[in-house]
């Protein structure tokens, strides 16, 4: 089992529905977010290129956040989902420093928080909240170890990239062109 996400940047309109859905689903406090949207624009008028990227924890195969955690609060569960046990987190911030994606934040209640791929929903057979609401259906979630899953097929057939591959973390959010 290897959970991953694929996001079609040719369809994303950057509306932020994924961000609000995460917030209401996971009770993310105001002023913080587990996912966010970035706009990338290049060129000169009228020869322009632009797309959006919905970003979050990349649930990497190689996890500097887990390695640097002194208490074991940061850990990997089945399917490669990177999680933080809130009760065991001492809020030292080592993982925040180690993450090349700025995907973690200090929760005001004193622990580090981040995207969980909505594992509580996945356990119920549902998609992560962000994927389930997207009006453009540009987001896909599934098991890369299953060659017949939609996400396996998408990654096999579509040109794609990941963020900061040079960081060597083997990120598992794929952006489809």
């Amino acid at each position: 089992m290897r959970y991953a996400m694929a996001i079609e940047v040719n369809k994303c309109v950057g509306c932020g529905d994924c961000v609000v859905a995460c917030q209401t689903e996971n009770n993310v406090p105001m002023g913080y977010s587990r996912d966010w949207i970035i706009e990338i624009a290049r060129g000169e008028y009228p020869n322009l290129f632009m797309h959006f990227e919905s970003q979050r924890c990349n649930h990497c195969d190689d996890t500097p956040c887990v390695r640097t955690c002194p208490t074991g609060a940061s850990h990997v569960i089945e399917g490669g989902i990177v999680k933080v046990t809130h009760d065991e987190c001492i809020g030292c911030g080592a993982c925040i420093e180690a993450c090349p994606y700025d995907a973690r934040y200090f929760h005001p209640d004193g622990y580090v928080d981040k995207c969980t791929f909505c594992d509580h929903r996945v356990a119920d057979g549902l998609e992560p909240a962000c994927v389930s609401v997207c009006p453009t259906t540009c987001m896909h979630f599934g098991d890369l170890d299953d060659p017949d899953s939609d996400i396996s097929k998408l990654i096999k057939t579509r040109e794609h990239y990941t963020l900061l591959p040079e960081a060597g973390t083997a990120p598992q959010i794929y952006y489809l062109k």
Binding site: V13, D17, T137
Partner: protein, 757 residues
């Protein structure tokens, strides 16, 4: 290890994470509910789901409000069988619960204690006290001027409750900004051509089209949900999208072809496209022969509108005009020249949207798969009541003599009749305003303010305070859509359907649903016969039974579908009668010829941008709808720093840098109340600025005996409406073109001196 550099990007949604690690904790709305507990997730099988119809915008998607056993709202999820949302709400629908949780909401009835100048000086009152003032105010208007002089300005699903009240009482002086300030010109353009308007949602068959043309229509920035979804499917299918826009919009970036047009010249492009499509024989000849009237006249008419001519006007190279005309013609009839929605731009907007209607007609896309489908809706019987009294004059009296296709109440005519200088027989001296903030929704602002100050009596019913509540004699706090019941949604679609909005929770504080407020006022005005029910649910229950459903069923399903009675598309060669004088699609409008309007669209020049100024372009951000909906904490969180788009050349001219705060001054010398940060971007033409709509709020709230600024939106950004100093009136409809306004940039705070003195 390298950090992702945020300097290279513009983070548009979601708050910075690491960057905020040092800021003091903010209170979570939901956290406040759960206290210090670590969040339990509301699991699917533990949730109580109540059907709702979204009210954050006019698309009115159906969904489910998720509450827990304690009755706390956790989230709102789309209804899978709803054709407006297909189970997926947009960010505003997902974040709609913020309207319920917003602490700035109107909480108690308020009665003005002094002034009438936009300041919010009230005393809190009981509903009974507030009703007493309203009944006296309305009766005084009746005594002094007649009931007709009390006007209703409204928006959204609250509107019909007060329309009923007004008609029962005897005033039909009413209008909504959704008409003259938004889509009336497009409705008129299509009615003049096809004998039918478009209404909402527009029956464009994007799902099946091969080619979609968007003209100043920002799908994806406007989250017209069903259309956004179908455009996404079109991208999946590899279909053609042509976007015409002076701005490199989101959809321009996703398009096959972007035509960066000079603002105000769209009609030239449309006429040149007709020229190529007709002269190269790319139109649907059988369709044109069978269903249209005036093709030969049109053919002659467009001969002078060559692509070479249009190139000199639109700044789009003639080659691109030929190329796109052939792409469009090649897709006939599975092609949509999208009618757009907010089409009140330059004052000849009915003619421009008629050009769009005509172009669709010669391509044979009306009534065809992949073009425009014939929508159907469920007709619900209306509850019985005595006939409405006939007012001596109405919105029609003050609109139709000047504008033949004023098919809805023209708000700006109502405003004109409310001004102190109006001396005619149809004076407006009182206003009842619900769910709209005319200060922002009926520009220009100065005129609206003068009209408001000339009123004897104003009532505002809303969920949120805004500028308009500052002009009210009585403010009534309405429950949000998650706390109330309204009329069933019966909007037309491919499949006729109805949707139920049912309260998921009791109204907070002392707020009340619109139907209750309207009924209580009605009873006190002696209109008991018009309210032979006590709870509006009785009306819905009766209506549902007439169409073979019930409240019980609707609470369970939320959306119910009904079979179509007529085909969705024309069959090949089918006889079809259009509701026009000729019974045909009128390429040449016989009505327009009779009324003295151009029977076929004629290009008119709208002038140049004055030296030293920039054209003011405004539009929606996907997470916000109106100034009224901006203060929603969830949506505010998504985007709370509006920016003014400025091309690098213009930035150089004005010597401003990215991120710098600036102020705007319009051509008449009016300075913006607030500043805004500049976003220097190649995504906009050098001679225009782009402002996101709804910001620059001056609304205040009255709490605990004093007036405070609204906690989130007050003073953030610049209101585009505030900068509008002139409207270009569309002669056919009375619609108000708002895009011929010009501004310049101030780098020094013009209010600084005032602040010091």
């Amino acid at each position: 290890m390298s950090k992702l550099s945020r300097r290279d990007f513009i983070k548009i949604s979601g708050t910075a994470t690491a960057g905020l690690a040092m800021t003091p904790p903010l209170t979570s709305i939901m956290g406040a509910i759960f206290g210090e507990e670590k969040t339990p997730h509301l699991l699917e099988n533990e949730a109580i789901k109540t059907p709702t119809v979204c009210e954050v915008c006019f698309w009115n998607c159906a969904g489910w409000t998720y509450t827990d056993k304690e009755g706390k709202i956790h989230k709102i999820i789309g209804n899978d069988s709803d054709p407006h949302s297909n189970g997926r709400l947009c960010p505003r629908g997902t974040g709609g619960l913020g309207m319920y949780y917003d602490e700035d909401r109107l909480k108690k009835p308020l009665i003005r204690v002094k002034g009438k100048d936009g300041k919010q000086e009230f005393k809190e009152a009981t509903w009974e006290e507030a009703f007493d003032v309203i009944i006296k105010g309305m009766k005084d208007i009746e005594k002094n001027y007649g009931k007709e002089s009390m006007a209703l300005l409204f928006h959204g699903k609250t509107g019909p409750h007060f329309e009923h009240l007004f008609k029962a009482w005897g005033s039909d002086t009413m209008g909504e900004p959704a008409g003259a300030q938004c889509l009336i010109t497009r409705e008129a353009g299509f009615i003049a051509t096809y004998g039918a308007g478009l209404a909402s949602p527009e029956p464009t068959d994007v799902r099946n089209t091969d080619c979609l043309v968007l003209i100043g229509n920002h799908i994806g920035e406007n989250m017209h949900n069903g259309h956004v979804q179908e455009v996404s499917q079109l991208i999946d299918r590899g279909g053609t999208i042509i976007t015409v826009d002076p701005r490199f919009s989101t959809m321009a970036a996703h398009s096959t072809k972007w035509l960066p047009i000079k603002p105000s010249t769209d009609l030239a492009l449309l006429l040149a496209w007709m020229n190529v499509i007709i002269n190269e024989g790319l139109y649907d000849k059988d369709y044109v022969a069978q269903y249209t009237y005036g093709f030969d006249l049109l053919k002659d008419h467009v001969q002078k509108y060559t692509p070479e001519w249009a190139a000199s006007i639109t700044t789009i190279p003639a080659g691109d005009i030929y190329e796109t005309a052939r792409m469009i013609g090649g897709a006939s009839p599975r092609v949509i020249i999208h009618p757009g929605r907010h089409t009140a731009w330059y004052g000849d907007d009915t003619q421009r949207t008629r050009a769009i209607a005509i172009l669709n007609a010669i391509l044979g896309s009306w009534g065809r798969e992949g073009g425009f489908y014939f929508p159907e809706k469920v007709k619900l019987p209306k509850e019985a009541h005595p006939p409405f009294p006939k007012p001596k004059w109405s919105w029609k009296t003050i609109s139709r003599d000047k504008h033949k296709l004023a098919i809805m109440g023209i708000t700006n005519e109502i405003i004109d009749h409310a001004l102190p200088e109006y001396k005619g027989p149809y004076k407006v001296k009182g206003m009842f305003i619900t769910a709209t903030n005319p200060i922002q929704s009926i520009p220009p602002e100065d005129k609206v303010k003068r009209a408001l100050q000339n009123q004897d009596f104003i009532v505002v019913v809303d969920t949120m305070p805004s500028e308009i509540t500052g002009y009210a004699d009585v403010v009534l706090p309405e429950a949000t859509y998650l706390e109330r019941l309204d009329h069933l949604r019966t909007a037309h679609h491919r499949q006729p359907n109805i949707a139920l909005r049912y309260p998921a929770v009791n109204p907070k504080w002392e707020t009340k649903p619109g139907w209750w407020i309207a009924r209580e006022i009605g009873i006190r005005l002696g209109l008991k016969d018009f309210y032979e029910w006590e709870d509006f649910e009785e009306v819905l229950d009766w209506q549902l039974k007439q169409v073979g459903s019930s409240m019980e069923e609707m609470k369970r399903v939320g959306v119910k579908h009904f079979p179509r009675k007529t085909p969705m598309y024309l069959k090949d060669g089918e006889e079809y009668w259009f509701n026009t004088n000729t019974g045909k699609i009128e390429l040449y409008s016989t009505d327009f010829a009779e009324w003295g309007y151009d029977p076929m669209p004629v290009y008119k020049d709208h002038g140049e941008v004055p030296t030293g100024f920039l054209r003011l372009i405004y539009g929606r951000l996907p997470m916000h709808t109106f100034g009224r909906t901006l203060n929603n904490p969830y949506l505010w969180e998504l985007k709370n720093e509006p920016v003014l788009w400025l091309h690098p050349k213009a930035a150089k001219y004005y010597q401003v840098e990215n991120g710098q705060e600036v102020w705007l001054k319009n051509l008449k010398g009016k300075v913006s109340s607030f500043g805004i940060k500049v976003r220097v971007t190649e995504r906009i033409r050098h001679d225009s600025v782009f402002l996101p709509h709804g910001f620059g709020n001056k609304g205040r709230i009255f709490v605990n005996g004093k007036t405070e600024e609204m906690s989130r939106t007050y003073g953030r950004g610049i209101s585009d409406s505030e900068m509008v100093y002139k409207i270009e009136k569309d002669p056919v409809t009375g619609g108000t073109g708002l895009r011929n306004n010009f501004v310049t940039i101030l780098t020094e705070n013009p209010h600084k001196k005032e602040a010091l003195s």
